[in-house]
């Protein structure tokens, strides 16, 4: 596989993957800062305001028309939490100009657009444009409130929030509703400048270009002030808890289906030696249609349409999610926990190991067919300080994991929280009716 070529330009780390495999250029900028209640809301609001226009295109419509002119370049942003950081990601996807013969470099146009949007925003006086800030505050507020519309995500986020009560990881990457009204165009602009100064910035480009060409455009269009001392590396800490007792939380909403979620302390992050074993564990337990959860909760007991597990390798948390009939909660919980026990006891067949290994190997190889997946994979390594683990080495590490290692790892996994989302009707004990 072709490798990312890297260099530093001021405080920006640039990662370029020259390839002619795609019909497009893919660009991504990651701006990360530690999760902190004090600034997380401003950190979420800033990208919303930046996407309204920049100094060259102060009006939102003309700012967006520019994208249409570039053959509908896809520009978007996303705010997420990865381990101990709030990450703002900006991305742009644009066709290679060789397909349209316009006589200009679309890569240059794209980097100019993104660079100026991030570093040369539209400013009035000492702040952002007041109407943009007012409107985007409203949009962010609505966005936070809309979590409730997606019950699958709602249950997943509530489970993490309850589990991580004493850890910054409890915070929503979109910030806190009650902190939105405090933001003014001036305080936000001030915050924005600090944010650019203190954050870790990674720029990715995948497409038919070179590190040299891209560097020139970055120098030209990303105007980030020189900083003397900057934190350049992400440092993650795994979730820990001394409580032995399992937390049980039930929320009630107007729902037809119950959502049963569980959170486990998984004690393995990307940089750990046990990480490949943890990946295999997750795959065998609930990563695929051949996995224990799918086979036992769905196929054998017909209790759910989905039942799966997920490993968060930054925070060292394993989660399980399923959608079930409300009255079947205890039955489903029992079957799920039985699978966890089976893993601990080592009831793992060679077939399960082979299938999981084959699926994981395939997934890792497929990453190379998508520009944004390659960027995502590489940035994960940047985030976890494991930059030297290539796709090939990951595949290699997974191939070496044996049943013993998986079982040893399984013994470490501890149930932390059981979360249930159910309907408003019925008494509290209803869901445990075993009749």
């Amino acid at each position: 596989m072709t490798q990312f070529e890297r260099c530093n330009i001021g405080s920006i780390r640039l990662h370029v993957l020259p390839t002619d495999r795609f019909k497009t250029y893919a660009l991504a900028v990651f701006i990360g800062q530690p999760l902190n209640e004090e600034w997380i809301t401003a950190g979420a609001l800033t990208p919303y305001v930046l996407r309204r226009g920049n100094r060259r295109y102060p009006e939102t419509r003309s700012f967006r028309m520019k994208l249409d002119e570039l053959y509908g370049a896809g520009f978007g942003f996303d705010i997420s939490k990865r381990g101990d950081y709030q990450i703002a990601q900006f991305r742009l996807d644009i066709i290679n100009d060789r397909f349209v013969n316009e006589g200009k470099s679309f890569l240059k146009e794209a980097l100019q657009y993104v660079g100026e949007t991030l570093t040369d925003p539209y400013v009035e006086g000492h702040g952002f444009k007041p109407v943009y800030v007012a409107q985007e505050k409203e949009t962010l507020k609505r966005r936070i409130e809309s979590l409730i519309n997606d019950k699958i995500r709602y249950a997943a986020e509530r489970c993490i929030e309850e589990m991580c009560k004493g850890d910054p990881y409890r915070l929503s990457p979109l910030g806190k509703l009650e902190h939105i009204s405090n933001q003014s165009e001036e305080t936000l602009y001030q915050y924005y400048q600090e944010w650019l100064n203190r954050s870790i910035i990674d720029v990715y480009v995948v497409g038919d270009t070179t590190l040299k060409e891209t560097s020139q455009y970055i120098k030209e269009y990303f105007k980030i002030p020189e900083r003397s001392q900057i934190e350049q590396d992400y440092r993650q800490t795994a979730y820990r808890s001394d409580t032995r007792e399992v937390k049980r939380v039930t929320d009630r909403l107007d729902v037809t289906q119950g959502k049963l979620n569980m959170g486990f302390r998984a004690y393995a992050t990307y940089s750990d030696e046990a990480y490949p074993a943890a990946l295999m564990y997750n795959g065998i337990l609930g990563g695929y249609p051949h996995s224990k959860l799918f086979v036992n909760v769905r196929e054998k007991a017909s209790l759910a349409y989905y039942a799966a597990s997920r490993l968060d390798g930054h925070k060292g948390i394993l989660t399980i999610q399923s959608g079930i009939e409300i009255k079947n909660k205890e039955k489903a919980a029992e079957i799920i926990l039985k699978q966890i026990d089976a893993m601990k006891e080592g009831s793992i067949t060679d077939l399960e190991i082979d299938q999981t290994r084959a699926m994981m190997t395939n997934q890792l190889r497929e990453i190379q067919d998508s520009a944004f997946e390659m960027i995502g994979f590489d940035f994960n390594r940047v985030l976890s300080g494991t930059l030297n683990a290539s796709v090939g080495e990951m595949i290699e590490a997974i191939s070496r994991v044996d049943k013993n290692q998986i079982q040893q790892y399984a013994e470490k996994v501890e149930l932390d929280t059981i979360y249930f989302l159910r309907n408003r009707e019925g008494r509290a004990g209803d869901e445990s009716n075993k009749a």
């Binding site: 409203e138 609505r142 289906q257 051949h290 067919d369 998508s370």
Partner: protein, 425 residues
Amino acid sequence: MKAIKLERLQETLYTDVLPNGLQVFILPKQGFQKSYATFTTHYGSIDNHFQVEGSEPVRVPDGIAHFLEHKMFEEPDGDIFAKFSSQGASANAYTSFDRTAYLFSATEHIPENLETLLHFVQHPYFTDENVEKEKGIIEQEINMYQDNPSWRVYFGLIQALYHHHPVRIDIAGTTASIREINKDLLYTCYNTFYHPSNMILFVVGGVNPEEIMDLVRENQAKKSYPPQGKINRIFDEEPDEIHQQRNVHKLSVSMPKCMIGIKEQPLGTAGRELLQKECESKLLMDILFGPSSVIYQKLYDEHLITDQFGSEYNSNPGYAFSVIGGDTPDPDKFIARIQEEVERAKEQGIDEQSFERSRRKRIGGFLRMLNSPEAIANEFTRYRFREVDLFDLLPTYESITLEQVNRRLQEHFDWSKMAASIVEG
């Protein structure tokens, strides 16, 4: 095997029709690790009333195409997912209004995985017991969608627009309708719609076209399919009028969701004409309601829409409708403002620049789509069942004129054919 060179797109498409009627398409992608294959039947949720030449008409329960899709994964020796997993392939399937697709993607063992795909889709195994067992699973799938406001508002709209056309049926059916499904009904549907002459195989990725074609040809030659008569799909007469002006559902949401749609008389035919109308309509929707449109910006400024606002145009020989909407704090005002602004646009007409911008945007969108093997296979098949060539989209967009889009603007927005669907708390 025919090779079709798509010079401008720098791609070559290989195709052949096998003696049993199966259409095969192969698109090699240089430098790609993975191969992606879809095996699709021209059979979806709207095909609930049909007749095969020489036999009696049959009406089947709602949701049966989707039920069948679930059941195909079961084999006498267990679940087919396990076999794909052993061969490092991730497999899946989906059912839409007019088709059911089975697919896998893999980076290794492509011949084996292709054989597995062909085998399991051409080998039904339904028992009373395994059909009953599936009902619990699908019931939970239906309940999951019941709790999904975006899905509810979308289907609420189609149900308000259509009296009888089966496009109004929820693809998975209802918890009541799936209880009527049994093994015999499943075999009836299977035998009608899974004949190779009603199916398309598409393989895209890092493959050698000759090898793949030989494999498929040999595989199919080993199976015998008696020639099948023509499938006659029966649709009840659908009035031009909408069914319901307003369809409201209660669900816990942070803000109401509102979608409006306009029902058009269907074209009645597939092919070029359908494509032309679809492209004109999609351009029109984008010009009027896209993120860089006047209407989007005005309504956003008025806090009547959020950044989740969108529009689409959905058409088939038997139905055609637009969808416009998203989250809004005030559905009535939102509807009134859309009508007002569209009326204004009708008076002024669309200008050359907006037209040109949207056209470029759609051309770019098409080219970007070609990066994705999944999108190529699925979109190609979808259009093919409508007798359209996916790669004709590019010249069609390039040849559309401003006059044509302006004419669409005048004819589409007939407010007497408008329905609204609302989901609120």
